[in-house]
């Protein structure tokens, strides 16, 4: 019984940690696209990245690069988490 209780607690902790990762990564997702690429783009356009006005860069390039990175970061974090809690599939 005690073993099962520990196991259940572990699962809870695993899920909580997963939700924490999701919260952080989805905040970044929202920040680069909806904020930098849309709502704040006009303000950011006064700064330049090479020949790119910054807000324009986020909308046409930057947000997409960040999206790709976010998924690979999540893959890395979750593979580590699966192993830590022995919930991986071997």
């Amino acid at each position: 019984m005690r073993f099962i209780a520990i196991f259940l607690n572990n699962k809870k902790a695993y899920w909580k940690q997963n939700l924490k990762y999701l919260g952080i990564l989805l905040f970044v997702w929202f920040f680069v696209s909806f904020l930098c690429g849309i709502l704040l783009a006009d303000y950011l356009n006064q700064f330049y990245l090479g020949g790119f006005p910054l807000g324009f860069w986020f909308a046409h390039q930057g947000a997409i690069y960040v999206f790709v990175c976010l998924i690979f970061v999540y893959v890395y974090l979750m593979n580590r988490l699966d192993k830590k809690y022995h919930l991986d599939e071997g």
């Binding site: 997963n18 690429g37 849309i38 006009d42 909308a59 046409h60 979750m78 991986d88």
Partner: protein, 566 residues
């Protein structure tokens, strides 16, 4: 050797390749047919997902749309990529753990209801069918313009090819053909872009070229801003402040819609394990991003090129490509002031030039004076994009019929062998049906395709997310949510779309949100209704709560458990 020769040979070679792959990867079981035996390597699945996802519209129309929208075109770039973050983080791993074949499967079992399955089934069929008709139209147009084949014959050739490899190989055949199609389409899209980037800026990466200086020492975007302002347009990079709220809603609707489209979701059922589902979403987005970060560069180069070559030039001195494309009706010049020069201006009363957005990608090689084989390559790429998307959608249609309708509703005792036959027959019928619709596309197809995203966002997305993240969510909540979300979205769209018989005008838009973006609001309504209704009604059965718990942990994804539903 002219462009015609190259186009025929490249299209011929690629088609022969698709047929060969189909023969090699014949499906032997329903699992092969529906989910390629769940044995696809994550990298291959990433490529197949990318080809599945990038349609004729992404390949041919998107760069052109951006070229004429400037900054606001970012809504397509962010909207059609951002959805993959949601897929990878919120959907793909859990649905893979659930381990069934279709989205209606998930909805039906998680909400322990055949009716919920049926609602999901109808939504999936509707979304997929409208979408596939658009692809068939793209195939016909590509044939008609480049190979001097009549439009109808073009559609028939397209049907023939898809028929062959989809009926024979099912998901297995489609997956490996899509891998080949991805390679062709991405090569075809980037090669002209690289050439043009070198011509303009000396930089071979279009993504960097877009932010570089042109040969005369001025930044390309600065130059383009100047050119557009001179002609009376807004600056190319300028934020359209009146449109900001609408852009926000459209971007969100495209993202959530992407994450709710059945033909994209089903791709994540084809990999062996949960961690592969996460990883292959990453690969898919990386492969998609190659095209999506190149497209804005193509757009800016092409807009600059057109202004330079055409604006204020005398009609007599225009290059040959202008006259070629005039013949297709995609370019037109009307000499309003009879001075023999082309006036290109934001003011419609003096503007004399009309440019169809599709021309940007299709005529780009000619405009930039690239060798004739590049033109052939672009045609083969456009066809690859259209065929790969069509095949993925047709599979969803066939699986919905043979698995969700026949096996799970009408004939539960059907044998494995007969189910496979039923799957083959229904995909054959779907291919022919889509082809016939493609021969006579109803005028509103383009409108409906755009709405598919809004409908997917307001129906599937919340139902799946709540099914995973909210253990308390029950049948009553999910069904009420789906119905209110989709009914609201549908009504708003029909009311404000004159093409669908609506009487509303843009002046009446709520908070300036156009029909393309209303799916976001429909989704929020779905969430609110579903959560409220579920809290006021009984808890879902213990078995379902256990199912919801179990899909959260990757361990044991190999052997899906059958749960009996009433």
């Amino acid at each position: 050797m002219d462009a015609q020769f190259w186009t025929y040979s490249l299209v011929g070679v690629t088609f022969a390749m698709y047929i060969t792959i189909a023969i090699i990867s014949k499906a032997g079981s329903t699992k092969d047919f529906y989910v390629a035996g769940s044995g696809v390597h994550p990298l291959a699945n990433g490529m197949a997902t990318a080809a599945d996802w990038m349609s004729a519209a992404s390949f041919i129309s998107m760069a052109g749309l951006i070229a004429f929208m400037g900054f606001s075109g970012g809504q397509f770039l962010m909207g059609w990529t951002g959805g993959y973050v949601l897929l990878a983080l919120l959907l793909a791993p859990y649905l893979r753990k659930f381990g069934k074949y279709t989205v209606p499967d998930f909805i039906g079992e998680r909400y322990y209801s055949k009716n919920a399955r049926l609602v999901a089934l109808i939504c999936a069929l509707f979304v997929s069918f409208t979408y596939v008709v658009g692809q068939m139209k793209g195939v016909g147009v590509a044939f008609a313009r480049f190979l001097d084949v009549p439009y109808d014959t073009g559609v028939l050739i397209g049907i023939g090819i898809v028929f062959f490899y989809a009926v024979l190989g099912g998901m297995k055949g489609i997956t490996y053909t899509q891998v080949a199609q991805y390679c062709i389409l991405i090569f075809a899209f980037t090669v002209p872009a690289i050439f043009i980037s070198i011509q303009f800026t000396g930089n071979f990466l279009p993504q960097i070229g877009l932010g570089s200086k042109t040969t005369d020492g001025v930044y390309l975007l600065e130059k383009l801003n100047q050119l557009t302002v001179d002609l009376g347009f807004d600056q190319y990079t300028q934020v359209n402040k009146q449109n900001l709220m609408n852009m926000f809603f459209i971007t969100a609707a495209l993202m959530f819609g992407t994450a709710g489209l059945p033909h994209v979701i089903v791709r994540f059922f084809t990999v062996p394990k949960v961690r592969h589902a996460r990883l292959s979403a990453g690969w898919a987005l990386l492969f998609i991003a190659i095209l999506y970060t190149t497209a804005p560069a193509v757009a800016a180069f092409a807009r600059t090129n057109i202004i330079h070559t055409v604006a204020d030039q005398s009609y007599e001195s225009l290059p040959q490509w202008f006259k070629n494309w005039e013949g297709t009706g995609l370019l037109s010049f009307e000499d309003k002031n009879n001075d023999g020069h082309v006036q290109y201006n934001a003011d419609a009363s003096i503007n004399e030039l009309t440019v169809d957005r599709d021309i940007i990608v299709l005529a780009n090689p000619e405009i930039a004076n690239l060798p004739p084989w590049v033109i052939g390559l672009v045609v083969a790429g456009g066809l690859a994009a259209a065929l790969s998307t069509a095949a993925g959608l047709l599979l969803v249609i066939s699986t919905s019929i043979s698995h969700d309708l026949l096996k799970k509703n009408l004939r539960p005792n059907i044998s494995e062998k007969n189910e496979l036959w039923a799957a083959r027959i229904s995909i054959a019928v779907a291919v022919v049906g889509a082809g016939l619709a493609g021969l006579n596309p109803p005028g509103f197809v383009a409108e409906v395709v755009a709405l598919a995203f809004g409908l997917a966002a307001s129906s599937f997305f919340p139902a799946i997310i709540l099914g995973i993240f909210d253990k308390r969510m029950n049948r009553q909540g999910a069904v009420a949510g789906m119905i209110s979300g989709i009914v609201f979205t549908m009504c708003y769209i029909v009311y404000f779309k004159p093409q669908l018989g609506g009487v509303g005008t843009p002046a009446g838009y709520w908070w300036g949100i156009s029909p393309e973006g209303i799916g976001t609001l429909g989704m929020l309504i779905n969430f609110i209704v579903a959560i409220s209704v579920s809290r006021l009604t009984t808890k879902p059965p213990q078995k379902i709560q256990e199912l919801t718990e179990s899909i959260r942990y990757p361990k044991g994804s190999g052997k899906p458990k059958e749960i009996q539903i009433r």
